[in-house]
Symmetry: D2
Subunit: 308 residues, 4 copies
């Protein structure tokens, strides 16, 4: 079965036929103006159908975020904080390691590093003030390991080295994603307990970041910042050709898109004109959720004060 | 007659039927590995056919620039310097004013401000060292006036105010452009003696910068950093529908593209993934040409030393 | 009489003998944890004694700001907003022009440009929505004109050109200052109705920005980001030599400091190690006060939303 | 015996009495307009006298670098490349790991990260092109691990983790230094085979980076970007008090400086006004030397092309 190229499980599920797939359950609800979609892939068959590993994928979607509405961003941030807190493993004495994937100097790929910049780091304070845990804080460390072309070290190799050194209780990996639908760019947060898989992200990670490779559960958080240029081409084909959406037609469209994109166009990304601002917004929104989940004892004001 | 949306006169000419148009002459040659295309629009009929004012449009194209080849960039920089020097009006005691159009914080729109950062500014040195002219230097001032949404002042209003204050002999306006062909993004420089017209550029200028508005000849220099998303859609349509390229067919494709792009897609840009690096390259290349044209008495080494 | 080198009138007054000087009145009070000092120079004799033009100088001082306390910054921001609103001239249809002086790429001199980045610009919205005034908003434009060495245009020349174009009701000029006392660096805001005078600021302006030169009242706002290296030397001399603080002794110390600083040391600045963060804090604090003064009808939330 | 606070061994040696100290040899010569000073600490007695570990300290000094002269920077860069090449251990199949110490967002502490940005990274290319070694290239990886307050991970812990992962043949650690003499700020490069010791650098490293801790030889390269504020105070005292430079007098001056600096002044740094530019220059100069030492088969042009 055809798999469209997207980092969002909800889009894969939608394209593959929605909730009626074997080994896949999809549910959707509203919460504070945010549309939540939960995709659970429970069997290997479901994983194969969606091209994604088994596990939980939670998507929070809000058009207001794309329009840069502050309240909308706060709502998503709060929801992300709640869901992250729910998914974090039991306290075991180890810190939570926040990893910002991607390349700081490539704007649509810079979400991870920018989020790390806004994450409240506290691990180094716990030695001198062991009562911080009692005050509702978690020891947190945060790194932006850079990308292979810049450091000469595979991102996963770098994260594994840091994880071995700090023995984290959990890893939160933040990354720029690619979506299928234009409307989801910069308006959607995906949270998954399946880690980061090879080939995903704007920067195309070559190796997995998972519980197996890092020795601690990996929660991955991301926001789509680009769509594939092929998307536009396929939508154009689809619109022009009309007709029913059969697998044969889909395949024909895919092949045409592939041909169209085999040249220079294939290296292009499609992104909102104001991507610099939208990535900064998204980083603040994700960091807000992460900070709330990890430090429930601190008010937003406390966090701002400690960050500055 | 249909006009495609591009800031490159050579693309407008190509789409309209090339060199056989009334009031339009097109010639092309090679120089140092760079393809030069000269479009001259000599009559109002030609201007109307191409949707661009009468005047000279010179395009320098090199695939090596897009591949970030240093030699290719130097070749284009040298050619740009020669052509600029040829187009500059006679020395009249006034400075040359370099204007960097666009928004520094929107990467694909930041070419102008980044070029200004690399331009050797000398006007303030001439008072104390009047012999600089004899040493092959020109008094140069350079500003990046910002965009309306950021300053509350129309760009052209700001440039006009500065021009009134410094009474320039000529204005060189640098801007990010939009192209029609993917292959021309970040590989092509356009130099024109027609100034900057409303609606052009990535940031869509609302008012003209011309000899009439500024009181001095305006040379405009730009590099395409984006293509319109509509381009991909139209190419997809064209590919799928096959058939001859008749005006009727073109119009039909345009209308379909328009419909496709009426939603969220219309706000998207298509740009190379490494646009941050490519814009920085292009800014250095343009500034190199500008510095050579304005200070023929200085070696590259001298300029580097004075810039640092 | 000896004049110490400082951009803060309160320091000049303190060094010259405080409130007992002819033509100078000094008063001090507390407001919301902030120490307010008002220096009024009412005669030319007072101006000569303090080395500053006649007018009002209001200083807001809070140690918490230097410690990066968020509440302290909010208190100062609120007070600045009130005082600015009080000093602004009557509404006359013209916009308020906010000018960020200094060099964006020299950290201690970047306060002005960074403040402009955070100022809510609205002038361009009033054409389409003339009811904004009724909703408690002011038309605002904002520019960071750069410095002479970077643009080749004298800062005052540039500001004058913009002022001629937009005909402002008032100008608010923001600049980095130099202080005498270490404790005032990054902890103090000075607001004055006397404009910006030659030789002041970290970047040493060469020409005045005043009501006379700009055709509209000029309110100047600044925060000290550096002290002069001579300060430390003089304090060291004073400490070592002990004895009473006579004019003769002061002069002797000044001369020694001058000699000590005649070499490479004279080019050095003394600044807090975390100056990058402190300047960013100060820019947000000043912009907060400016935004409140100019848009009393908007909540902090509204301003954040419109800025993003 | 009194030890002045400086990261430059040549200053420690000068203050302690120069080349006549037991266990310390000092020699000085000129090379291409650059003053080279070699300090060898050969015994523990010498180490104790100078407050620095035994080993080689090579200083390259050029006033032209401080004046931003391009030729001077190239001369120092070339010399640094030669000396680094001489000190590198034999090829053993492992990569060279370049580590940029310090905090990217604190200008005077950002030399290490900025140098890493300009270092040619090649380790990831050797898998696909094993003949690169035969073409005079070395596998290089490069990281800027950030500082404890930002990551929650001790710098040395992070570097050790990366070193364990990549098994380097040698580590080159780049850091901002503090000097005693104003004239050496931004004009001097120190290269040592002793690694990085606790308490050194602008950011005050808490743990050592040495062959023992990292399992590979550590060459440390640095440029002073600040002087201690105490320096000015002490010079002022010394100038005022006159008299001979006896140990007792030195101690008295130190104590006074300490008292003077116990307050807010102690948190201040003394740095050139144009420190942003000088740090960028120094980073390019160091990276130039590192790139030449590690890739002797590449021309400057080749390196520029591969970096871009």
């Amino acid at each position: 079965m055809r798999q469209i190229r997207t980092d969002l499980a909800m889009e894969s599920a939608g394209a593959a036929g929605g909730g009626s797939l074997p080994g896949v359950s999809v549910s959707e609800w509203e919460a504070g103006g945010v549309t939540m979609t939960e995709v659970k892939i429970t069997t290997e068959e479901g994983a194969s159908l969606l091209g994604k590993p088994t596990g939980l994928y939670l998507t929070m979607e809000s058009r207001g975020v794309r329009r840069r509405d502050l309240e909308a961003r706060k709502s998503v941030s709060a929801l992300l904080g709640e869901e992250l807190a729910r998914l974090l493993p039991e306290e075991n004495g180890g810190p939570v390691l926040v990893v910002g994937l991607g390349n700081r100097t490539v704007t649509p790929d810079s979400l991870g590093p920018l989020t790390v910049d806004r994450t409240l780091v506290t691990r180094h304070l716990f030695d001198a003030q062991p009562d911080l845990a009692a005050r509702g804080m978690t020891p947190v460390c945060a790194v932006a390991p850079g990308v292979l072309g810049v450091t000469g070290v595979e991102t996963s190799e770098m994260v594994r080295a840091v994880a071995e050194a700090v023995k984290p209780r959990a890893v939160i990996a933040v990354d720029s994603l690619a979506a299928r639908a234009v409307s989801r760019v910069a308006s959607t947060v995906q949270l998954t307990d399946t880690g980061v898989r090879p080939g995903s992200g704007v920067g195309n990670h070559r190796m997995a970041l998972t519980g197996e490779t890092l020795g601690a559960p990996v929660l991955a958080v991301g926001v789509p910042t680009v769509i594939y240029a092929a998307t536009i081409a396929r939508d154009a084909f689809g619109m022009l050709s009309g007709g029913e959406d059969t697998p044969e037609r889909e395949q024909a469209l895919d092949e045409m898109a592939k041909e169209l994109l085999s040249g220079a166009l294939g290296e292009m990304i499609v992104t909102p004109r104001e991507v610099d601002d939208l990535v900064a917004d998204a980083a603040a929104m994700l960091a807000g959720g992460i900070n709330r989940a990890l430090h429930p004892g601190l008010s937003e004001q406390d966090i701002l004060t400690m960050m500055s």
